[in-house]
Subunit: 359 residues, 4 copies
């Protein structure tokens, strides 16, 4: 297996399985001199951790981060930052019945085909538990961005058929953390919560979308041709478990505008050049233009349902599969910090890469 | 500038500006022993080249490929394959008036901000002309895939508000090349062509979507965690000029299914394990499962319109910009071979990467 | 800081400081299905650990390895293998006096210049303690090589002016571990030990050379042009602390042969094509040819001496520096497993890379 | 084949075979705004080109460079710089007799084993002709370094048994280009030339060493742990055809000094911190310390000799091989610009990498 590393200059390598000893991440390339505490990292992990509300999985993990290296006297030294989170509440026995089973729309079958030796306990390496390592690394990236005034804010913009129709600019994003579903529109948030509760009772699951906005990112980030800023954001988002789609700026809807309506006219503002509209989503030619960067990510419904499903076992025989274990009926609330973390990693990487653009 | 390289094992580096001496690509990592001719590469370039029909730009480029290295006695030697396409019909004077101008929704402003020294002739490096190099490299990747029985087929699935509503499985994709807009539904194709003609007359432009399906890809391609097959496809597609969104399998629509409906049940077929439905889009846990891989890409309307637009110049003064040059009113027909090429590059890379998955 | 990662397909990322919480490594890219135990890793670490004999540093570290991920039921799963070694005997107070001091021929000054925030405790990230992580990873690589029949054997070929003059082929390398200096010539070994003891008493240090031979490596490993097998070996060796030179095959001495004497004539042997001599060191054109690969690495004398030295502090003032702490008078005995580990990592990486050379 | 790319931020990809249409290089990552002309590149190529004197190969190549991209109005734009050199004097027929032959100490056998389909004309991709592409790219890197005041000077320090015994600091390196063998000691240069003439007449070949010094490189370049500045220099040098060894600073000789003699004492000079001696070769802990960086590279005698040699053919039969073609009796004079080019590429890359070391 490769592909456990992300980023060019600000890069991370994650490790760990759902039911192994620990998960973690090594950050390589963070500049020296950045103040960061384990509390700041923990705060982000707490937003992602299981059991944080009654609409998430009830697996009990404190997700306590331990810093093994790279921080000295409260500041980064530029040495690799190793962060480890011990697994505590592994009920691996819950998975013994899955040893020889391929769960529908999970990675069981593809891992078995590709690797042969498969850690079947809770999905092993394919578990979304891996994303805790991303969130921990993302906390460091966020702190670096803050040094440059850049902020990242994600929120749940739809659950199943309940969707926020307003643009991010019309919402008060500071309300996002006020409810357990992380939707800044409180009326819709309430509906989403009720929907998730009902779906859980029915032993079913739902998906939805996370929207995200990056503010105060100066012009110049992103590398043509292949490492366009939105291409790297797309890859980052699509590497998160359960994602099905990515769009930025006008997105798929932009297709329904003609060029004369879609073009973002420039205008000179007090201190900078801005655009009157922002269908470009803050990125032109793959490079940030100083406007807000915004995008949206689709998450499928969780594959583990508490219903009987027909499937097959490793011998190719048809079996009936019963849902067990502790799972989220909807990943969206916990996906918000993951989306933010991945966005922060992309922007941090491009911030560093941009330092060598010209003499 | 970095980011001109794509791929890990089967990798390409492209070069060249719209109005420079030539554009080209170096392929590094193609295995030895693959039969490939310049005619096969040329055939793909011809599908992308300007002036191929009255609904594309009238820039006259034969886009003739020259092979400089890497092929010996008709077969690859594993040495880098350098492919060069000379620029022939550069009317750089068409662009002199743009020297100090930032065209709306182009990369003029961001390149100027990032690099200072900007080749303003026809967009320079930011021009979609660069994608010819990708198509040339993609032709080699396609030939490699064919060696493993894998085929890739793209088609225009919508132009502005004219959309194919059938899934790829319900269409006869062999009809795609029968019309100049590359839509396999001939009635819709005719409507699309008429729309593009009307839009061109109005000096405006339209966008749309390209859909693509990859067939006969065996199970096991893709690398968790970050280099999931669909994450690499997403990046590949979003690196193409003018793209705004990517989705695979059930995509954004998948949000409107519950888990019980979205899950793809396994079934044992004659020789392999298959799924009854394919909301997964042929990829589970980031790894191909042997089913068809399919995805969809959104393209914005072309930014260059033949209408007056307000903009600003490099001094920050408001100016009126008039559309000049030879441009596509709609990039979709020419985008099809580009999407296919990028998909081929991703699959070829993962084919090679997969060779080291297990002992 | 970047550069904490090594390898292309079989790659490692190390982390940790001499006096931090722990050091460790994440291996990414090890194929699935390889049997490996923590005992096998520990055995290699024990060859490198401090305090193993009276001629090494007396720092007390058990260097106990903990496997955090990537091994399931005794075999690799292809998931990243995280290995952690806790630091136990950190006498960081020994280093307080060095906080504002630049020790001669150490990395104190260059780290301070480059990074600003410097972990001065025991050299921090620049400490050779980092190489324990390489040895742990190398143990996994060695096991992989063994699967292909490849073995790696290093030995001390000189300490100061006491040098083995015989070639590796004339020595009984199985005797290498019989003495604490790891020299297979027992008479010379005894002289080396006595020299090191005398040097230690004088508060001084000595360097030397490690030779290494790789056996049973089949033809075909190595990638022209830049990733020649010996170029990657050179980088691997020169990345080890305190190294000053690398040569393979005939090396610097080869300059004193004319082409007619230096060329290795081919001959057909029972099952394979071999060469009568091996000035090529088992590598031709950057690719292994099936003969023994052998090379030699120079290590400078340890920079920390137990004598007074003039130096300067961070304010640029001249100071007198007294040697403190627990240090090796000669790194050579402990360097052997490090050289072997780095060689194993290079060969393992090229074994995997070679799988994609031809159709 | 992979491994045709070198460098992390300032990176190059070379292509081309000895007797193909052309050789060339794509530079990716050069910052925008650097003034560079084709004449400056050509000047470096002229130092490497064949036929420049009677002691080099008589192959006639003008090695004329063509710039295909990346330079606009005399300055880099940060877009990839593609440089192409057409092959002109290919007497491929000279090589027909080698189609089925493995020349001793060449890459014929290993390429055949690894790739199957081998371009046997003049060594194909394994020919040192590839290094012209490096020299062209190195010219751009040198110009970038000059912007920062850094200069690189190589010279021939030995041919066979005729060796310069003085250190670089005792020589007048400005005399290096005054003679055709590129040795700054004119008496020794004359001896070297006579030796090469005699060796050529005897149909034999000789090797030697190139020494190189990098001046005015500020402190801070190099990345611990694996990408130490000297580790990257080692790899760069050992990737050049025919190299057998690398040493920097005190090198292999440094082994014969004790720590108390080898350590470089710091002293405060007018504007900077310097060391009284420089056994460290300008690099401490893998990072430049502001002193001169110097190193030495060993080149074996050219494998193609004009004498009869026993060898085998692809069927494993013993044959007699007669030397044909036009070859160098000694590569050293032409190796000097190659060594400089590779050194320039390493330093340029680390200059850019260093820009992200701290906040």
């Amino acid at each position: 297996m490769a592909g456990n590393r992300f980023g060019t200059l600000f890069s991370i390598t994650t490790f760990g399985e759902s039911h192994g000893a620990a998960i973690g991440v090594v950050i390589d390339g963070c500049p020296a001199g950045l103040q960061i505490t384990s509390e700041e990292i923990q705060a982000e992990l707490d937003r992602r951790k299981p059991g944080q509300s009654h609409i998430t999985t009830q697996r009990k993990e404190t997700d306590t981060v331990e810093i093994l290296s790279g921080i000295f006297e409260g500041k980064t030294t530029a040495a690799p930052i190793a962060l480890v989170i011990k697994n505590e509440d592994q009920r691996s026995k819950d998975y013994t019945h899955l040893k020889d089973t391929f769960r529908p729309s999970h990675a069981d079958f593809t891992y078995a085909e590709k690797y042969g030796n498969r850690d079947y306990r809770g999905g092993g390496r394919s578990s979304a538990r891996e994303t805790a390592a991303r969130v921990a690394a993302g906390a460091v990236a966020k702190k670096l961005l803050l040094h440059y005034g850049i902020t990242i804010q994600g929120y749940v913009s739809s659950v199943y058929n309940i969707a926020v129709t307003k643009s991010y600019a019309e919402l008060d994003l500071s309300k996002t953390e006020n409810n357990i579903v992380r939707c800044p529109d409180e009326a819709l948030a309430q509906q989403m919560i009720e929907l998730i509760e009902a779906v859980r009772k029915a032993g079913d699951t739902v998906g939805g979308t996370v929207s995200c906005v990056i503010k105060n990112c100066k012009a110049g980030l992103g590398e043509p041709v292949f490492d366009k800023l939105h291409a790297d954001l797309a890859k980052a988002m699509m590497s998160i478990n359960a994602t099905k789609g990515f769009e930025y700026g006008s997105g798929f809807e932009g297709v329904l505008l003609k060029g004369s309506a879609h073009n973002d006219a420039f205008e000179k503002q007090a201190e900078k050049i801005a655009t009157k509209t922002n269908h470009s989503g803050g990125i032109q030619g793959g490079i940030s233009n100083g406007m807000d960067i915004y995008f949206r990510v689709a998450f499928k419904p969780v594959a583990t349902i508490m219903q009987q499903q027909e499937s097959i076992n490793t011998s190719g025989e048809t079996i009936m599969l019963e849902g067990k274990g502790r799972h989220d009926p909807c990943v969206l609330p916990r996906a918000v910090p993951i989306v933010e973390a991945m966005a922060a990693l992309v922007i941090a990487d491009h911030l560093l890469r941009n330092k060598t653009a010209k003499l």
